[in-house]
Amino acid sequence: MITLEGLTKSYKMGKENLVVLKGLNLQVNKGELVAIMGASGSGKTTLLNIVGCLDRPTTGKYYFEDKEVSRLKSSDLARIRGQKIGFIFQTFNLLSRISALGNVELGMTYAGGVNRQRAIEALTKVGLGKRIHHLPLELSGGEQQRVAIARAIVKDPSLFLADEPTGQLDSKSGEEVISILLSLNAEQGTTLVMVTHDASIAHRCKRIIHLKDGEIIGEENI
């Protein structure tokens, strides 16, 4: 599903060259449940952005579904994001002026077309069947994150990427969100790569990758 070969990413900060990822090699197979752990600044989010086709590596190769995508045009990357990848962000990233249903439908807009029935089904699946017309601000943090999950699952993507999905939630709603994400992997075999600080959440995944200063320093299989 995902193969990284000697992946580097560096940014120009004035005259300095800031190297964020220093030659990563990684393989994630279809249906895997992977947690990425590391301190702030270890490059987790940058890695997730590249894997999610939001960003391109500076050097190295990235094969997504056996296709080298690191040098694709931005329109092709956008197509992959729209059709194959479901993002879940720490800050939810919902549009505040449209309802939960509207946000889920927005996910479908760029993935082949809106289907209201499926959007409602997706919201029902995350336990928000009765709150589809609420605006994000009328929902709790956990509920907002569940809307974001519904927005991702409605596209039926082959890869879920979650960037600290519980980072802004209390433990109870965080647990709800995590259990939904884990059940997606368990029931439907969807590939899930999740960045997290939380060791207890990481240990519920099948594989943990430890990142430090842009390098993979260790891997655990549980």
Partner: protein, 412 residues
Amino acid sequence: MRKLLGIFGSVWGGVITHKLRSFLTMLGIVIGVGAVIVLMGVGKGTTESVVSRLSNLGANTLFISPGATQSSGGVRTAFGSANTLTLEDAEAISTDVSNVEAVAPSSSTTVQAIVGVQNMRATVLGVTPSYQPVYNVQMSEGSFISADDYSADAQIAVIGSTVATDLFPSTDPLGQQIRAGNYILTVTGVMQTSGQSISGSTDNDIITPLSTLQLLGGQQLTADGDHVVRTIGIEETDVKDATQVTNDITTLLLQRHNISDPTKADFTITSVEALLASVTSVSNQMTLLLGAIAAISLLVGGIGVMNIMLVSVLERTREIGIRKALGAQESDIWLQFLIEAAFLTFTGGIIGVGLGLGAAYVVNRLNLFTTIVTPDVIILAVSVSIGIGLFFGFYPAWNASRLDPIKALRSE
């Protein structure tokens, strides 16, 4: 198609969330388009009313007036005041110049017209029967002066509409008598209201045979005993003959007036066609000028649209980031903002058309100007307003589409 519908949904959402801002953005276009419609309407209305007054006479009409329009070092005779044109000149034109349909010499004097207790100051116009076709006189009742009336020096009057209402407020003027100076004229016809036209209004006129006017003592004679007339109206057979007829008349009159140098001519020939052409061209330029002034306000409105769209893109950076993360193509984002700009200006344009039509109607009703709003101006104004949206929305939309999704997502 479904994608486009989705984009339209996004556009509508963006517009409706910022109602006040959307309205203010539109306002510039509303005022611009409204101004274009009203000012073009005024320009067109003025042109039309001038042209209709002129063309009432027919383009194939010429007027000969006494006096010269240009001086050539010598003393310039005041236009229209000299006694250089005569009835005999008119007769000579009628017999000697080809392609002349009708010749209508006329002369006038002012009298106090009295009917019972009613009296008014009126112009008595002495004419020949051909006055009617040349000046396109329309009768509301009775008949115009006939050839028989003319040769019989009949003491009859064809009166203008104002004369009819002033002197005969409650009776039918036909067959009634008017005392004009020392003479009694019997009314045989009433003319339709003519309004103001290039040849003056006939509403205040009492028209009588030229031969009868001589009896009233209103006509002067030249040293040779010829009968002085004020104006000679000529109707050409066809407007194409204007140049030939003008040249022939000039030659004939110069010869009759014993003038060898054409620049010293003691008469002036004016053609309605030439007048029409110059009035139309001046008027069209005025319309264009008015339109240009209005277009400037439209341009200012367009810059306002661009300004607001740039702010809107900046404010919605995060939204753009989210959309891109969800798979929006650059073209989707670009289209969304472009359509939003065009939608705002199009709606503004439609409202502006309504406002402009209303204002044009009011201006018309208040008799400030005649306004004529033609469909082509409306279509032009609306398409220009959409064009402005596309033009001024292009750069902000392009800016939005080029945003880096990661940076956009991080922005607050």
